[in-house]
Structure formats: C-alpha cells, structure tokens
C-alpha cells in the first residue's frame, strides 16, 4: 500500500534537512569525543571503505558550499587570503582554510580535525588542498590515485589499460586498508564492507531512477535546486541504509509529483542542462534568473561528477568486494568524473535527446579549472556539431566578488530570447 499523497510530498526536503543536521551533529560530537575523522572529497570519497572503519566523514567541499549559501564566504576567503593564498586560488579551498584557521567554527556546527585525509586525484586541487591540512595538522594524507579517461584506450573495460589501472587501484586499496587499521586500531571487516557496497548499489540504482524521472515534461525537480541536495545526501550517506532509504523516498515523491502533474518550475517553457556548477554565493538569484523565464534544469553534469560517479548500470559485484570496488572506482573515474568534466559532449548529446532539452547553460567558475577550463569549447562543439544552443556565463562557486549581476542577467535574458526563436524554428 502506498503512503498518502500529503505524506509523500515534501518528504524529500524534510528528510534531506534531517540527514544534513544529523551529519553536522555527528561532526560536532566528534570534536568532543575525538572519534576518528577522515576528510574526504566528493569525487572518489572511498566512503564505503572508510565507513567500515567507523570514521566520521567530513566533506570539506560541502562545508565550503554551505558557508557560501549562508552568505559568509567572503569573510572566510579573506582569512585565507590574509594567510597568503592568492585571489586566484579555488574558493572552496580558501573557504575551508578560513574555517580551519577559525578552529573549525562553521555556521552549521563545528568541524573536527582530521585523523586521516583521503583524496583522489580526480581534481588535482584536492591534492593541494590536502597538503594544506598536512602542513597545518601533520595528519596522514593518502592519495587514492584514479587514472582517468584516456580515449579509446579506456573504452574497453576488459582491455589492458583498464586492467592495469584496476590493479593499481586494488593495490592502493590494500595500502589504504592497512593505514586505516593503524589509525583506528580495528581490523578490516570484509563482511561489513560488503554491506556498505550493497547499500551503495541500492543508492546508485535509485539515484539514477530519480534522474530518469526528470525526463518527464514538466520536470518534477530542478537539477540545480533539489539536485544539489541529492548530491549532498548521496555523498554523506553513501553506503549506509539511511542513504538508500532517502533515495527511495525521493523516488516515490517524484513519481507522485509526476502523477499529479506538478512541475519544479511553474509554467515550464524551457528545458535546460547545466554544464559545470552553480554559484552558491548567489544561489537563489542564479536559479531565479532561469526560472523567471520558465527555464528548468532537468539535468546537469554536476549531478554526474559530483553525484558520486553513479552512472547507469553502476553495480558492485558482492562476491569479490575489493576487486569489484577497485574496478568500479576506475570506471567511475573514466566515465563519471573525468569523462563528464573533460569530454562531456557524448553524454550531453544523449541527455539532450532523452531529457528533451532545449538548451545548455555552461557556467564557468573561476574557482574550478577542473570543471570550467574548456566549457566555451564544448559549447561551440554542441552548437556546431549538434545544433544545440548554449549559453556561456562566468562567475564563481563561492566568491561573491566574482558575481556580476547585470552582466549575467543580460546574457541569460538574451539567451532565452534566442532560445525561444530557435525553439520555434526547430519545433523541439
């Protein structure tokens, strides 16, 4: 028997907030109890493995984002710049440096110091960021090196390149396990690890099912509004039953919204994809600029690379947990992370078709060369090769000094005017 409508609608928001609060509570408590905390990153967090050792997981990208959403990033960034960081360094890094230099005092709670840092190389800045903590706290830093997409050599998941990469990652996983055992004094529990993998499998399937619901016209959620919460919960609760339960509820709610014909953006007129990230220091404004034209983001590369690399079909083979974990990490690095950030044209092509997209917004952010460097080129490629209109705007993730409202608004408005004309001629 399904739950009554009023119970289903709005669950996502309530439950998302509850889970977020719970995470902050856990972090703040760890400051007192000294429970081991691992600092990890969204892309390649190794959450399934670290959970097996009961680490509290701090995601500094999320804490930096939240500082910006609370409108306080400027002050934190300034602290980092006073310490010596250049105005041209990633704002996520600087917001966190500001946070660490304030002894972890965050608008939402307190951040414990790291007992361990696990970083992937999917963003090279992750490594430099980790080195800051290494200098400040002398904590161990483990780089989980995930070789990325290398064109046709990585297309074959039975090929020599994939096998070489997977062997390397498996070897590193064993080294990471040893390190975790040393830090926590616990033995690695393979059965527990398997349970976390099983939960991640469930989450991945549900996450993709949720993304699929947005193929519906009108779209039941906005990929840059609700989508950001989904990404957050997917990180914080990856591999845990609460995480899978949450996505079960989200899926139910989306199905209910579709049944009732509810749209994320009332009077939906334009269906968009976001390539890159949004601007958190002007989050509401960013969304409003598009929504006021009836523009809804039905998908984003952000939901792929910052959503855990859960590509359709993502599944761990539970009969060979470690080996399979290594293989999935490599595949995620190929397709989910580096593929969707550096070679997104094929993915875009498919999404434009399947999600009935009218246009693409490419948002370059100064903080993030990882995501933004070649966006003007992809925009041009999609326009010339696929006749899909694109808008390119620039600001930042978290640095409010880089938001130029009039400029962004002018470009967005001009884009929608052109999009309306394009839509009329192509009858998309």
């Amino acid at each position: 028997m399904s739950a009554p409508t009023e119970e289903v609608l709005g669950t996502t928001r309530r439950e998302g907030k509850r889970l977020m609060d719970l995470w902050w509570q856990e972090m703040t408590e760890a400051v007192q109890t000294g429970r081991p905390t691992a600092y990890v990153f969204a892309m390649g967090s190794m959450a399934e493995l670290l959970r097996t050792f009961d680490f509290v997981l701090n995601f500094p990208e999320i804490t930096s984002l939240q500082i910006a959403v609370r409108g306080q990033s400027q002050a934190y960034i300034q602290t980092a710049e006073d310490y010596g960081f250049s105005p041209d360094v990633c704002g996520y890094v600087k917001a966190d440096v500001g946070l660490q230099l304030r002894q972890g005092e965050h608008p939402y709670g307190k951040v414990p110091r790291p007992s361990l840092v696990v970083t992937s190389n999917v963003c090279n800045t992750y490594i430099k960021w980790s080195e800051f903590w290494e200098h400040l706290y002398g904590c161990p830093v483990f780089v989980m090196d995930l070789p990325g997409w290398r064109g046709r050599d990585s297309a074959d998941l039975n090929g020599e390149t994939f096998r070489n990469d997977a062997r390397y990652v498996l070897g590193q996983l064993r080294e990471l396990i040893e390190l975790c055992e040393r830090i926590t004094g616990r033995r690695f529990d393979l059965d527990r690890f398997r349970e976390h993998l099983a939960e991640a499998n469930r989450m991945a399937e549900l996450y993709n099912a949720v993304c699929e619901t947005n193929r519906h016209i009108p779209a039941p959620f906005n990929a840059v509004v609700e989508g950001v919460t989904y990404q957050g919960i997917a990180h914080l609760y990856r591999g845990s039953p609460q995480g899978s339960r949450y996505f079960q509820q989200v899926l139910q709610e989306m199905q209910e919204r579709i049944r009732l014909g509810m749209a994320a953006v009332p009077d939906e007129r334009f269906r968009l994809v976001l390539v890159g990230t949004t601007c958190y220091s002007h989050f509401r404004r960013f969304v409003e600029l598009f929504a006021s034209w009836g523009g809804v983001f039905v998908h984003s590369t952000y939901m792929v690379f910052a959503g855990g690399g859960f590509l359709p079909g993502f599944v761990y083979d539970l009969s060979r947990p470690l080996e399979s974990f290594a293989e999935r990490m490599v595949a995620a690095a190929y397709w989910g992370y580096t593929g969707s950030m550096f070679y997104q044209q094929d993915w875009l092509d498919e999404v434009v078709r399947r999600w009935h997209v009218d246009g693409i917004c490419f948002h370059g952010v100064k903080s993030c060369r990882t995501v933004s460097t070649g966006l003007p080129d992809v925009r041009e490629w999609m326009r010339v090769q696929r006749n899909v209109p694109g808008l390119f705007i620039q600001s930042d993730l978290v640095d409010p000094r880089l938001w130029s409202d009039a400029q962004v608004k002018n470009r967005v408005d001009a884009f929608f005017e052109a999009l309306a004309a394009h839509k009329a001629t192509t009858r998309r």
Partner: protein, 386 residues
C-alpha cells in the same frame, strides 16, 4: 662576436621563434618522420625517439604570438601557457604534430586536453597519467603499464615496433643529455659568473625544440668553451629561482633578475631535467623508465610524493646550491603553483631564509616593477651579509 655569444644568440632566436624551425628542418631531412609533442612537465621522450619520431616540448609561446582563437575556447581564468599552447596549434603552427601528449599535471591542463581532442580530430591527443600516489608500492608497476600504453600508440602511428635495442640506444642518448645538463647546472652553482641565467635557460629549453643528438653536440661545445670565458666574479647575491616548473617566465624577466643576483639553481623546465640520475639500460627498460620517473627524480608542485615534501626539497636545493636567498614565483592563474607558493614562503620564513614572492605571466612585457623589487631585495641582503 665569439663562439659562445653566437651560440646563445642562435638559441634565443630558436626559443623565440614560434614556427619551430629546427623541427621543420628535421622534417625536411626526414620527410616520412613523425613528431610527438608533449606538454609540461615530464614525458619519457626516449619512447618517442625509439619509435623513430621526434619528441618536442610544447611549453607555451611566451609573448611571441597573439592569442585569439584559443581565447574563444578556454575560460578566462586559466593560465597563459594553456592558452598559448592551444593557440600555437589552432593557428597551424603545430600542423606537423602527429601525436600530442598532455600529462595529468593539473586541472587546467587535463581539461584543456579535452579541447585538443575536440579541436584536432586528425591528431592523436592523449592524456598521460603519471602516478600521484608515488609512494605506493604499486606505482612503478602501474606506470610501466602506462608507458607501454603510450609506446603501443607510438608504434601504431610510427608504423614500427619499439625494439629493446632501439629503446636502449634512446635511453643512452637521453641519459647523456641529462648528464650534460647536470654539468651546466654544476657550473651555475660553482661559477655562476660564467653562465647567465638567461643563457643556462636557453640551453635547457632548446633541448625540447631540436633533435637530442644535435642538442648533445651543442652542450658539449658550450661546456668546452665556458671555462675559458673571460667573465669575472661579481659581488652578487646567490638565489634559487623557484616557480618555473610549467609556465615559463619571460626571458627578459630572468634578465632583470640576473642583473641583481646570481641564479645558482632553479626549477625552470624541470621536466627536461626531471630524472636526476642515469636510467639503467639493462633489464626491463620500460620499468627502468617508470622507476626513474618515481625514484630518481626531482620534485614539483604537480607531483604528489610524500617522500619528497616540496618545501623541504626547496630548502635542500637552496642548501646544496649555496644560495643565500630564494625567489619564489608562480604563474598567474596557476592553481598548483600559487598554492605551493604559500607553503614555500612559510617554510622559508620558518627557516629564516630571505625570499621574494612574485607572480608572473609568460606574456609580460614590462619589468620595471620586478626590476625594482629584485634590486631592493638584493641590496638589502648584500647589506645584511656584508
């Protein structure tokens, strides 16, 4: 004009010529030859050489060209070397490249590799993933496999297998090149008045712009002539210049610095000097290359190796070169360089080593400010050490 001056004039002309004249000459002599470009920092050029190809270094264009087309393809807040390297290709100046390899040094370069892939469908563009977990017991195995992958690509494009015999000969050739460059750096350290910073830079940079056989001959000739140079030792401060691992400071900026200081060591074009000892020519040669990258090598902000903490490595470079101070530079918009600069300057501060922090861009043309800063810095130190 004496021999040395003529050589350095020619080298300067070569380094500042965006048409790659030595490559074009090689192609005239080897009409079937293929050229492999590699972006900063390190690429095992021996592999390309053993495949019968000419490996060259793509390290930006300095201020020698106008960047137009690349600006339409790359976001505004990206360093200059990424844009100007792309511009070289978009403007047809690299039309001789059959293969372009971009190592995974940083976010901007990896992402820009995607732009190259989309822009040049007829060129083979590859990202080379060097290990960032250099201390892992599995890194050498992995990198051996990755180098073999690159080897397979070059075999396919070059149309001939890379035999052990060829690879051994190529490694020996490049070992010799690195040995000669180490000799250049020994002179810089021991008798910096014999060789200016600009001249030593030209000697290194040109290695990536011409066939290594020629470059070795050139280095031998220079090393023969240098001890006889009539230049006299002057009372100048001895500094290490750090921050030239990727984007290159303009030659005139080095000239301004050398007016006030002796640069006794640096990380300029470190990729061409990355391997610090001979690569063994016995056993599994691919493995030897991988092992040398990881275990017989220098350091840079874009390689993570906990066995070589970068600030400590810089302090060592200063100590071993007998420098009294350091210039810690970073290229504008260079995320890893700017981040490392913070740690470098704090470590120098803690060690009580005087240092000057600066930012540069390869396209800079005005150096009064830099000149003034360096002069003031050097004078204050001369006074202090007097």
């Amino acid at each position: 004009m004496d021999d040395l001056e003529r050589i350095f004039d020619d080298l300067r002309a070569l380094v500042e010529d965006p048409t790659f004249p030595a490559v074009r000459r090689w192609l005239t002599e080897n009409p079937q030859g293929k050229v492999v470009g590699s972006f900063q920092v390190f690429f095992p050029e021996e592999v390309a050489h053993a495949a019968g190809m000419l490996p060259i270094k793509i390290a930006g264009a300095g201020g020698t060209i106008q960047v137009r087309q690349a600006d339409a393809r790359i976001a505004a807040f990206v360093c200059s070397i990424v844009r100007s390297s792309l511009e070289l290709a978009l403007s047809g100046r690299l039309d001789f490249l059959s293969v372009m390899v971009v190592p995974n040094i940083c976010d901007a370069a990896r992402n820009a590799c995607g732009v190259w892939v989309r822009s040049f469908p007829h060129m083979r563009v590859e990202t080379l993933y060097h290990p960032h977990n250099a201390a892992s017991a599995h890194a050498v195995d992995y990198l051996t496999g990755e180098y073999r992958r690159i080897g397979r690509i070059l075999e396919e494009i070059g149309g001939r297998p890379i035999t052990d015999e060829a690879l051994r000969a190529s490694i020996a050739l490049f070992n010799e090149n690195r040995r000669l460059l180490r000799e250049v750096y020994r002179i810089k350290r021991e008798a910096p008045w014999l060789l200016s910073a600009v001249e030593s830079y030209l000697l290194v940079r040109s290695a990536g712009l011409m066939p290594r056989e020629e470059h070795n001959a050139l280095l031998r000739r220079v090393l023969e002539l240098l001890p006889h140079r009539p230049t006299k030792k002057q009372d100048r401060i001895r500094v290490v210049f750090e921050g030239g691992f990727c984007e290159q400071p303009p030659l005139d900026m080095l000239a301004v610095i050398q007016n006030a200081c002796y640069i006794v060591d640096d990380d300029l074009m470190i990729g061409l000097r990355w391997i610090t000892d001979d690569v063994p020519t016995e056993g599994d040669l691919w493995r030897n290359l991988a092992d040398s990258y990881l275990n017989r090598s220098s350091y840079s902000p874009v390689q993570r190796d906990p066995r070589k903490p970068k600030a400590e490595m810089l302090l060592r470079r200063i100590r071993e070169s007998g420098a009294e101070a350091a210039i810690v530079a970073a290229a504008k918009m260079c995320e890893p360089g700017l981040e490392e600069q913070v740690h470098y300057s704090r470590a120098l501060e803690a060690a009580g080593i005087p240092h000057l922090v600066m930012e540069f861009e390869e396209t800079m043309t005005v150096f009064e400010q830099v000149g003034m800063e360096v002069e003031t810095f050097a004078e204050s130190l001369l006074f202090q050490f007097a």
